[in-house]
Amino acid sequence: MTIAQPLIQARGLVKRFGDFTAVDGIDVEVRAGEAFGFLGPNGAGKSSTMRMVGCISPPSGGELRILGMDPVRDGPAIRARLGVCPQLDNLDPELTVRENLTTYARYFGIPRRVARERAAELLDFVQLTERADSKVEPLSGGMKRRLTIARALVNNPEIVLLDEPTTGLDPQARHLVWERLFRLTQQGVTLVLTTHYMDEAEQLCDRLVVMDGGRIVAEGSPRALIEEHSTREVVELRFAADSQEAFAGKLDGLGERVEVLPDRILLYVADGDAAVAEVTALGLVPASVLVRRSSLEDVFLHLTGRTLVD
């Protein structure tokens, strides 16, 4: 595989369900060895895109090439080289941890003996060796997710698709999953993941796109996106609840942008401490002040809005 050729290439990719357009003409290129993220609120079109890349959802329009092949015509051939970790675990609860891997390996035409060795290796990788002969049902959410990830790796895939890999996991479990995924990228596996967790995107992705309403609204590395769509620092000011609106007017012109929320005011500035000094100079006394570095979350909320999506 030459580095020049992207593993996944989408141009003007569209997915429609009846009158509803879930994915509205996106251009994406994923290159070998990178960790690529789709970031967006619920309903942004991330999962629909992932399903098209997974070759189980024919595109309604545009062009899509995966590993240089056509997902509609070459579905099985492409899927043989993909690993898929769905949003909801769909392990077989009747089987043991090990059998979940070995039976799945058979779907890839992997010989029984190789499948058993591969299963042992992967169980070690996801730290489930001790539970190899346990049934799936009593496993914790984190263990099930790790097993699902192991199952996605059973065919030694070139691309691993992960749909919200850590949604619903507790902090320890999330960090363990991140650590394992990071090791995969170190080994040169290409990761494509969706998430709505900013910290996850910052942790895992070399490059990501922000999706909203079926379109791509921004693209770049986490760092570049923060630089492009936010300021270096953010100042969070809290005032007594009823006086918020009154103060807000006086802060206009401070920094690049002022955002008034029901419970606090955000100042997007290059230098947080300097901005705080200016606020004090204006004679305003906030109930609390917090200066922090700008995060992907600020970019995300700026681009996709604060309205609750459900």
Partner: protein
């Protein structure tokens, strides 16, 4: 034949069944299909009555009961269908639903946080099962009267008897449910239920069984229920029905007692 009780037994196997219990909450709140299931519940024993009572009855002809009374095969089978459907309905409602709600839905953990006591929950569940079962029984008795398989007076007397049968198996079911460890146990219970259904003097008089089997059969609750309702429906004389009623009353009381004791222990742990 395998059909009567089996749909409830074989249909839930292993994990699907466990998951079914979780999903169950969703479809109880659900639309027409569930209500159709509920309302069509009385259809099953009626279909059995037509198939076995009338269809097979045409091959069997009339039966001479031990008392010397001659009845049509349909009139002989109908009371047994009534008794066994009262059993099946009451057991399904109290065991399957109760177990699912307690183990998987944690519904009762929410309820015992209120002043409601475990025993009252049990009675509430049983009450709902009995309302539903009694409506089915009443409908079935109407069918029997219309088909000329029993008289109006006998049907009116048989109704409370059918309700009593429901209570006895409902109470028994609740007690049994507290001993259930997993869904696998339901297969056992279902098999026991089906065996009772086959061998409780349902299709042939118990007198036709070999002596040992016959004595064993006469001790089972379904046999007593069939005996009670059949006696009323065909107008048998004598006092043996008193034994049946006493048996079922004791079963109800013991079942409720065991259920309430065990539930308290399971819930307040």
């Amino acid at each position: 034949m395998v059909g009567l009780v089996l749909p409830r037994l074989v249909s839930f196997e292993g994990a699907p069944r466990r998951s079914a219990s979780v999903a169950e909450r969703n479809f109880t709140s659900l639309k027409s299909a569930y209500w159709l299931v509920l309302f069509s519940g009385f259809l099953e024993p009626v279909l059995y009555l037509f198939s076995i009572g009338i269809g097979v009855g045409a091959l069997v002809g009339d039966l001479t009961l031990p008392g010397g009374r001659v009845v049509s095969y349909a009139a002989f089978v109908a009371p047994a269908m009534l008794a066994s459907s009262a059993m099946t309905g009451a057991l399904a409602e109290t065991t399957f639903n109760f177990f699912g709600k307690m183990k998987y839905m944690k519904l009762y953990d929410g309820i015992i946080a209120t002043p409601v006591q475990p025993f009252e929950i049990a009675l509430g569940e049983l009450g709902w099962a009995m309302i539903r079962g009694s409506l089915y029984s009443a409908a079935f008795l109407v069918v029997m009267v219309v088909m000329g398989l029993t008289g109006v007076g006998a049907a009116v007397t048989a109704f409370p008897a059918a309700v009593l049968v429901g209570f006895a198996f409902g109470a028994l079911g609740m007690a049994v449910a507290t001993f259930m460890r997993s869904w696998q146990d339901f297969d056992l219970m279902g098999s026991a239920q089906f065996t009772l259904f086959l061998f409780s003097g349902t299709f042939v008089p118990a007198e036709a069984y070999p002596a040992v089997l016959r004595w064993a059969v006469e001790l089972t609750p379904l046999y007593r229920s069939v005996h009670l309702i059949r006696g009323i429906a065909v107008g048998a004389s004598g006092w043996s029905w008193l034994l049946d009623v006493a048996y079922l009353l004791v079963l109800t009381a013991v079942g409720l007692l065991v259920a309430s004791q065990r539930m308290g222990r399971l819930l307040y742990k």
